[in-house]
Symmetry: C2
Subunit: 205 residues, 2 copies
């Protein structure tokens, strides 16, 4: 089992909890596994974070915070629409390059236990997405953007930016067959460019 060191115990525990919870989820994660990964005794976990759920909460809250930070740019009304979209692409792809498991973690845990996170989710969104969709519709009506289904556009945009990270293990496997180097196809820069192409292609310029 991999160990983390060279930081305070509390930090090491949180970092280890992040790793283990992301991999196994709330139910699948084992306290002993977290302790081993952090390189400390199991009792320490309970000293710093009363119990498993409280520890999970800390980890999940941090994850949500960081995740929704990428989406916040949609609400920045000082920027023109397309720039907001491009910034979102840069944000989310860079973020997921660092934490490729984040999307699955958040979605899985929410779908397992929706009640647990209702308030937290409610606090994070304040109609950002819905308002942005309205802004899209307005520009389409004004003839500044091609008229398409704005909701489907948003879904597609998120899909292009997010799924490549989720499915990376499968893709790598499916594409590994001849001598070609497919790692480069997952480079963040290529993904960003591809998503931006999609935006230009569908919204017109």
């Amino acid at each position: 089992m991999k160990q983390l060191k060279d930081t305070s115990a509390e930090e090491r525990i949180l970092e280890a909890a992040k790793v283990v919870f992301m991999k196994y989820g709330l139910y699948g994660a084992r306290m002993q596994d977290i302790a081993d990964t952090a390189g400390i005794n199991k009792a320490l976990l309970h000293y710093y974070f009363r119990n498993k759920e409280k520890m999970f909460d800390k980890v999940f809250e941090g994850a949500l915070q960081k995740y929704f930070q990428s989406v916040d740019v949609f609400g920045d009304t000082t920027l023109p629409i397309k720039e907001r979209i491009f910034k979102y692409i840069d944000n989310i792809v860079s973020f997921l390059s660092e934490y490729p498991q984040m999307t699955m973690f958040i979605i899985k845990e929410i779908s397992i236990n929706p009640e647990m996170f209702k308030e937290k989710l409610q606090a994070l969104k304040r109609g950002r997405t819905v308002r942005f969709i309205q802004a899209l519709e307005e520009e389409m009506s004004a003839g500044k953007l091609r008229k398409i289904d704005p909701v489907m556009f948003m879904i597609n945009l998120h899909s292009l930016c997010t799924y490549p990270f989720i499915a990376a293990p499968l893709f790598k496997h499916a594409l590994k067959a001849n001598g070609k180097d497919y790692e480069k196809d997952f480079s963040p820069e290529k993904l960003k460019q591809s998503a931006k192409n999609f935006v230009e292609l569908t919204l017109g310029k």
Copy 2:
């Protein structure tokens, strides 16, 4: 001849195992939970499927089988390229409409325990994807399709078809704010149409 009950115990167990394993994964799932869901005694599980891992194997094998069935059409060289793509879109979207959690289940379990599934994955793919990408490249060279990065195209195509199901819980939450009925935006038919538009747009006609 033995009379089939409308649902035999064994079938009910497998069905319950599917539900519970998909939700919690191998480590997170509890045998008692599976037994309760199936409405039988816990010992029955071990009677039909020796142990947890063997039961999981059965479930996972079935999942893989069904999942890769959707992709098989890429290898059907009797069909023109674009028709293969369109058929894949129809296949995968219809399949995921029925089992929205399938993608996450497969990817999660593989990423947790890659060794466990190496052989099974190896058996399922025989360069299908790689050969299809070569076919794409040939048609591009022949001027029949617009010249784009074929690997990125495949990644994008899968993303558009798959991610909407994965993220449905999040999307529904993010979009639920005014009186609009957003359920229709997740209709399989709309998704298929949107993915096909993407294909036409990027590969040219």
